[in-house]
């Protein structure tokens, strides 16, 4: 009798095993540690070949005194000509150094997160706030969505032309937000009449005033002067920007990740993460552009994301890199965003139009799935067709299933790390 029951159990087990087929759309979500040595070795090799390095290899040491002065500058509204906004207002730790909103809200806004957009009078800016992870570390040389600060042939290229205030692109980038109208300067008639001239001298006028303020500040002035071994009266905006850059460079440096532990220290990886990693470097073709130590080639590419908000060029249009180069080939191209701490830096894309990482991945190969064209005006559809053109010429991934997209998202979460609290 016992043998009959055993046989029945065995049959049932065999039947259930046979029925336990993987999901039809491709891969199994599994938190179980992967054991496939061939695939793990392939992923390690691919990550290293694509430029992945240990976090410690990217850090640039900073002067602690300058960093500490920069920390105070970062949180001070004195950086805004109207004293209405600080860097910290849009770069919050709780949102992974962004503001958690699709489009930034500039000078005059109050509150943080959704409250900032819902309850305040501040102007809505055309682009999504970029996170700071890795900014100014080794090899991170292209800044902002459209790369308006970059390094070419060893020289900093920016809107300062041949009068760049520093040879360090991070310091040059730190010069820009304080003179961006509506971002850190409220758009008032006086400002428009006296300062909106689109020349470097107007920027210098604003920044000389900001430097005076910081020099006169009872807390920041002495620290800044001591950090640069200068009397407070000799402090210039270059010192303010340099201290700010030192803070950002140190505070938002890349820390060790689970991927680093997997690649260099034989750490664990789940089966889903392994599948996602192999898709990232394989059929997904993600690493064509998301390569190098920061998972960005620092080049410019087009992805037909939905457009949220008014857009840099107005009426829901943002022509991206074209605004910097005026080269028609650059229309709708944006700098490849680095991928560290992706989980906490949403929403995604240059206009923050996509909330989930999975949708951001889908936008690369199936953008129409995220858009209801029937709800769009003829003009909006025409703009969409313009974006689809350059996007279709990018190295598009294979058609990925939803499970495969989820596994890539799981792999990307291996790039999360705990930043400053």
């Amino acid at each position: 009798m016992k043998s009959v029951s055993n046989a029945t159990l065995l049959s049932a087990a065999l039947f259930l095993t046979a029925c336990d087929a993987p999901p039809s759309d491709g891969s199994q979500a599994s938190a179980e540690p992967a054991t496939d040595t061939m695939r793990m070795a392939a992923l390690r090799d691919a990550a290293i070949a694509s430029g992945f390095v240990r976090a410690e290899a990217l850090a640039i040491p900073v002067d602690p005194a300058r960093r500490d002065a920069g920390r105070l500058i970062f949180a001070s509204t004195k950086m805004s000509l109207n004293q209405s906004i600080s860097c910290r207002d849009c770069h919050l730790n709780e949102f992974g150094s962004t503001d958690g909103l699709p489009n930034a809200v500039g000078a005059g806004a109050v509150g943080h997160g959704a409250a900032r957009m819902a309850n305040s009078e501040g102007p809505i800016l055309p682009r999504n706030v970029l996170p700071f992870w890795g900014r100014g570390s080794k090899g991170f040389t292209t800044f902002f969505w459209d790369g308006k600060v970059s390094v070419e042939d060893g020289k900093v290229v920016s809107q300062f032309g041949d009068r760049a205030p520093s040879g360090d692109p991070m310091v040059v980038a730190a010069h820009l937000p304080s003179v961006e109208l509506r971002e850190m300067i409220a758009d008032t008639p006086t400002v428009r009449d006296t300062l909106v001239t689109e020349d470097v001298d107007a920027a210098r006028t604003v920044q000389d005033e900001l430097a005076r303020r910081f020099a006169d500040d009872a807390e920041i002035g002495p620290r800044l002067a001591a950090a640069y071994r200068l009397p407070a009266g000799k402090l210039a905006f270059g010192h303010v920007a340099d201290a700010l850059a030192a803070f950002i460079r140190d505070e938002f440096r890349i820390r060790p990740t689970r991927l680093e532990a997997f690649v260099f220290d034989r750490g664990q990886i789940s089966r889903t993460e392994l599948a996602g990693g192999l898709l990232f470097y394989g059929r997904g073709r993600c690493s064509f552009c998301h390569s190098g130590p920061y998972f960005s080639d620092f080049d410019f590419h087009a992805v037909a994301f939905p457009q949220a908000g008014f857009g840099k060029n107005g009426f829901g249009i943002d022509e991206g890199r074209y605004n910097v180069t005026l080269d028609p080939a650059d229309r709708f191209r944006f700098r490849t965003p680095p991928l560290y701490n992706l989980s906490s830096t949403g929403p995604y894309s240059h206009s923050g139009s996509v909330v989930r990482v999975e949708d951001a991945i889908i936008a690369h190969f199936d953008p129409l799935r995220l858009i209801d064209t029937k709800d769009m005006s003829i003009r909006e559809r025409a703009d969409l067709y313009s974006r689809l053109g350059p996007a279709s010429r990018e190295p598009l991934p294979s058609a990925l299933t939803d499970a495969e997209v989820r596994s890539i998202a799981a792999f990307l979460r291996m790039l999360d790390f705990k930043g400053p609290s």
Partner: protein, 132 residues
């Protein structure tokens, strides 16, 4: 003491064996149909994905040979990793063989996968017509 091998007990066992074999013989096609039905979608997807990965690899190899470049080398490396999906396909196929499907039945499943996307007769014809 009665023998454990009495003729009537042997006959009973033989009858049970025959009935069991008959049931197994009748159930086998049903079992195979069930395994095929259960695995058609997954197997069909793997057929399609492996086919795409092989095509990508072939094209990347050609491009790298005809016009060598860093981009081409990167595409080739990615397409090589992409071929891992064909190992998934092989493993799944071996599992189906283990569960009793024959090569003929696997071929039938592959055919279904190829034709699943055929929206009209012309596509079916193109799949099957002999070309010289």
């Amino acid at each position: 003491m009665r023998s454990r091998f009495q003729p009537e007990r042997i006959a009973t066992h033989l009858v049970a064996l025959l009935v069991g074999a008959l049931i197994a013989w009748l159930a086998l096609p049903l079992w195979r149909e069930m395994v095929m039905g259960w695995n058609q979608e997954r197997y069909g997807l793997l057929v399609e994905q492996c086919d795409g990965a092989m095509r990508d690899h072939y094209q990347a190899k050609q491009t790298a040979a005809l016009a060598p470049s860093a981009d081409g080398a990167r595409a080739l490396a990615a397409s090589e990793i992409g071929l891992i999906i064909c190992q998934d396909y092989d493993l799944h196929q071996k599992k189906l063989l283990q569960w009793g499907l024959s090569e003929n039945e696997l071929a039938q499943m592959r055919l279904r996968a190829i034709e699943a996307r055929a929206s009209d007769l012309q596509e079916v014809i193109e799949t099957h017509e002999i070309r010289f």
